[in-house]
Symmetry: C2
Subunit: 218 residues, 2 copies
DNA sequence: TGATCTTGTCTCACATAATGAGACAAGATT
DNA sequence: AATCTTGTCTCATTATGTGAGACAAGATCA
């Protein structure tokens, strides 16, 4: 369960249920365990979500993410033109560096991966689309926090900060002087070296410029 | 707003809000108009959803689908192994017929498109991933309703039934004697002719068998 | 075999928690 | 300056969601 509060209890509980189902809970009692809610409450709320297609149940009565979420997820992706427009630059960046490239946007106190281009290597960084990461960690985190030092330099790098063994370099995508997104390359330190910036900073910044141009940001 | 009731009012309202935002409502009053809910209620509920990332607001305070939905949508897709496994057969079917191919599963009194392979033609059928269609219409609807006549024949066809000008042929994907999905080709009647079955039935049924094989259904 | 868990489900008395009319400030139009 | 229209907030009211507990049906035990 994620502990956020919203002022509307039912919504908190319903979202906790969605998160629990997303994270693989299948049986009623698993949902109860994961959310900490009383069983009848889980049952009733889950039933309500099922009625709306946000949760579904298979023939064994297992709870699963509802198919309605597919369309909602699509709508969310499409509501962010930046993600669509960044796809090409991301792929170029991936091809130029050989490493996985991602686009992140800030979301409250976290950051969300909204576009990816995966490295062809067998050993590569994988950040699932939609993944919510810690805003306090990683080079993309530093960018999205709009750290003055980072903005002055035009990029940020990190080694094993968010996850051991992976290094990354990120650059801000700017709209005027506002950071609207962070574009990153990341890969295993074995390939990227302990000073990934030296190798990748230029390419990442170029990609950021490409995204800005494609998005028509001045 | 979709008028479904679930027994938990707050959930109904929250879902109505998600639907409204999905369908493009951007301002508070648009949400009010679309859902029929009182303004303070919309405001409070929307704020709650924003706190959880299911809705987001841009710098102009417009309401937009929340990025959290991206991950949930992914989870929903992945929870349906059939969709992943059907991708190849769908593409083969598309290539064999030149028309768009879709996989539908039943969801309550509707049907949801869970996988697609789009025709290369300029004029083609487009069914967005996650789209919820009428179970009562179209050849895929007949399949998912498990109509005896359809099951006996092994396929269904329709011309201009769900949407004027488009014809389709669908076959059931079976698990034992249970219909678990419908696989379809559809295109403009100008190309498919008024008797699409003659041309496509065999290919669609073959695709259904391929999906069953790939999914390990006996 | 019968006893004991553990499922999912449902009811219902209770008070928490959501409600929504109304008021407010701040822009935008007039 | 007067009038809409935004988004936002409060607060008295009670509708609404709550969850302990009971139930039936399997599963697993002895």
């Amino acid at each position: 369960m994620d502990g956020r509060l919203s002022g509307v209890g039912v919504v908190d509980k319903a979202v906790a249920l969605l998160a629990a189902v997303e994270s693989g809970a299948r049986t009623l009692n698993e949902l109860v365990g994961l959310t900490g809610l009383p069983r009848p409450t889980v049952h009733r709320l889950a039933a309500a979500l099922v009625a709306h297609g946000l949760i579904r149940r298979d023939e064994e009565l297992h709870y699963l993410p509802g198919l309605r979420l597919i369309a909602l997820g699509r709508a969310a992706s499409q509501s962010l033109p930046l993600a669509r427009v960044a796809q090409r630059p991301l792929e170029d960046l991936r091809d130029a560096t050989g490493e996985s490239a991602q686009l992140y946007v800030r979301e409250g106190e976290g950051r969300v991966c909204v576009a990816v281009a995966e490295s062809p290597h067998g050993l590569r960084t994988i950040v699932p689309l939609g993944a919510v990461l810690d805003l306090r960690r990683g080079s993309a985190g530093a960018v999205l926090r709009a750290e003055p030092a980072v903005l002055a330099r035009g990029f940020a790098d990190s080694v094993g900060e968010r996850e051991p063994g992976v290094a990354s370099v990120s650059a801000p995508v700017l709209h005027g002087d506002r950071v609207v997104a962070a574009i990153s390359v990341s890969g295993p330190v074995e390939r990227t070296s302990r000073e990934p910036a030296r190798r990748y900073a230029a390419a990442v910044m170029a990609a950021a410029r490409a995204v800005e141009a494609a998005a028509g940001l001045r």
